[in-house]
């Protein structure tokens, strides 16, 4: 299990024990964290599981791949550290990860 903190846009923090090899999106959805819709169910096809990774974690988490980039790119509220959380695989290396949720999913 890996500890992940999700911070809602209004500052509310949720600390979750996520299962390794699942996704950061699943960690939120399975634990009822508001603010992640994940309409497509983890297919990298809707961009409604958008998170903003805290900058000191960006190196560990890594950059989006081409498919993810093409979805993120259409979001006007995209930030430099934006990722789709369904594409971030949970592992020991992410223990302590902090992600911020955008004001809206679109």
């Amino acid at each position: 299990m890996t500890t992940i903190t999700y911070i809602e846009h209004d500052g509310t923090e949720h600390v979750v024990e996520a299962e390794n090899d699942s996704s950061v999106m699943r960690g939120a959805v399975d634990n009822g964290i508001p603010g992640i819709d994940a309409d497509c169910g983890g297919e990298c096809s809707c961009a409604t599981c958008h998170v903003i990774v805290t900058s000191n974690w960006m190196e560990v988490v890594g950059r989006p791949n081409d498919t993810e980039e093409s979805m993120l790119d259409l979001n006007p509220e995209r930030e430099p550290n934006s990722r789709l959380s369904c594409q971030i695989v949970v592992s020991d290396a992410l223990d302590g990860l902090i992600v911020n949720l955008p004001e809206f999913q679109m």
């Binding site: 309409d39 497509c40 096809s45 259409l74 006007p76 809206f104 679109m106």
Partner: protein, 415 residues
């Protein structure tokens, strides 16, 4: 189920006819609401189905949820550049727009206008929508038969569209007219003769060109015309491409929400226990909204064209073939959605539906659509105990726009 018992307009038995003869693209099947058994059979027996001969030529039907998702994701093999509806574009009247394009051009044009329906912008629109919905609902007579489509669905979506374009408000019915003309052409199997359709669309171009010329002289504003007029990548659009993008935004913002507004009323009447569940708990409205959009599926399909040989669901699709993703069928796929024919206001995971599409062409206005429906239903439930459907709806003659021209209802006030 009553919808399966409706008389088939072709005198066919969809369950026993040869699979090869099945042609789900015929608008009459949608107009008579007799499409369901065809798709049910295809999902069971031939989920990736080839129709060799139709009024639109040969095409593949993708009928299962997960196969549709696979096509949506693979925009490299399944191109939108030949159009997203079944009929090919008439060569002498091409109206290119970004939904019918591939990256990179698609991305730049979409990005120019995406901001207008971004959630941050929508928050500012919510009170306007609520005010207008209230005014419309308050003007309706009780205990009298009225056409819900005209009085509410069209009126509310047209007002919204006029606001998004900052279109002269008193002339807003033109938007509805152009939208209807755009989608009802005879080439798409609809009732409107092609010359009539073209004349209407050229008039649309003329009016909007005038508005664009005015707005280019003014500072950038948050309406769609101003955004297109000032946008780096859209300001020099050729007239027909400008028209194409206008039609896309008008139809996208009009037909779809309009028919979901009507569809929701019909669904609650067909499932009265769900209506009661809603009355007992108005907090279900936000969850009911995506369920309405799934159940109605206001656009029945999107088309792609294979640009390489590709296998899907065990079938080999060849370069150049037309491929139709039937959202209306995928949204009733029992392997992905429990009791898919039922309308369930508290359905778990209701957002997992195909009506907005997936991938890079996913509906740009999805959040606006959801917000309009949510606000409207909040206002409806404040006022009416029941919107009673008192006659058969009249459905549109189209296999693309799955909608209604008439829905006779009587309103009963809250006790």
């Amino acid at each position: 189920m009553n919808q399966l018992a409706t008389k088939n307009p072709f005198g066919e038995d969809p369950w026993s006819m040869p699979l090869a003869d099945i042609d789900v693209s015929r608008p009459e099947l949608f107009q008579t609401d007799t499409l369901w058994p065809y798709f049910e059979r295809l999902r069971k027996e031939d989920p990736v189905h080839y129709c060799a001969d139709s009024q639109f030529g040969a095409y593949w039907s993708i009928t299962k949820f997960n196969d549709i998702m696979a096509v949506e994701k693979n925009h490299q093999a399944f191109s939108s550049a030949w159009g997203i509806v079944l009929p090919d574009r008439p060569e002498d009247f091409e109206t290119p727009n970004f939904i019918g394009m591939d990256p990179p051009k698609h991305d730049v044009q979409r990005k120019t206008v995406q901001g207008v329906v971004a959630p941050a912008n929508l928050a500012k629109l919510e009170s306007t929508i609520r005010e207008r919905a209230a005014t419309i609902l308050d003007s309706l007579p009780l205990e009298e038969t009225i056409n819900w489509v005209d009085r509410v669905s069209i009126e509310l979506t047209t007002q919204m569209l006029a606001t998004l374009f900052d279109f002269p408000f008193e002339e807003r019915s033109k938007l509805t007219y152009w939208s209807d003309m755009a989608t009802s052409g005879e080439l798409a199997g609809g009732p409107t003769p092609e010359p009539v359709r073209r004349k209407a669309l050229l008039e649309c171009l003329e009016v909007f060109t005038k508005l664009r010329d005015e707005r280019i002289e003014q500072p950038l504003a948050t309406d769609l015309i101003s955004m297109l007029a000032h946008g780096e990548d859209t300001r020099h659009m050729e007239p027909m491409e400008f028209l194409g993008n206008l039609i896309l935004l008008i139809v996208g913002g009009n037909d779809t929400t309009r028919n979901s507004i009507s569809g929701g009323v019909l669904a609650l009447n067909q499932f009265p226990d769900e209506y009661q569940k809603l009355r007992d708990n108005l907090d279900l409205i936000p969850n009911m909204v995506p369920e309405i959009i799934r159940w109605q599926t206001p656009l029945a399909y999107m088309r792609r064209t294979a640009v390489e040989d590709v296998e899907i669901g065990g079938k080999r699709i060849e370069k150049g073939d037309k491929v139709v993703m039937w959202y209306v069928s995928g949204n009733r796929d029992e392997e992905v959605i429990d009791h898919p024919n039922d309308f369930i206001v508290d359905r778990p995971n209701a957002r997992h539906h195909l009506s907005f599409g997936f991938g890079i062409h996913r509906c740009m206005g999805n959040r606006l659509a959801e917000m309009q429906l949510r606000v409207l239903w909040e206002e409806i439930m404040q006022r009416f105990h029941t919107i009673e459907v008192v006659g058969e709806p009249t459905r549109v003659q189209s296999s693309f726009v799955k909608g209604y021209s008439e829905l006779p209802v009587r309103l009963h006030a809250r006790a």
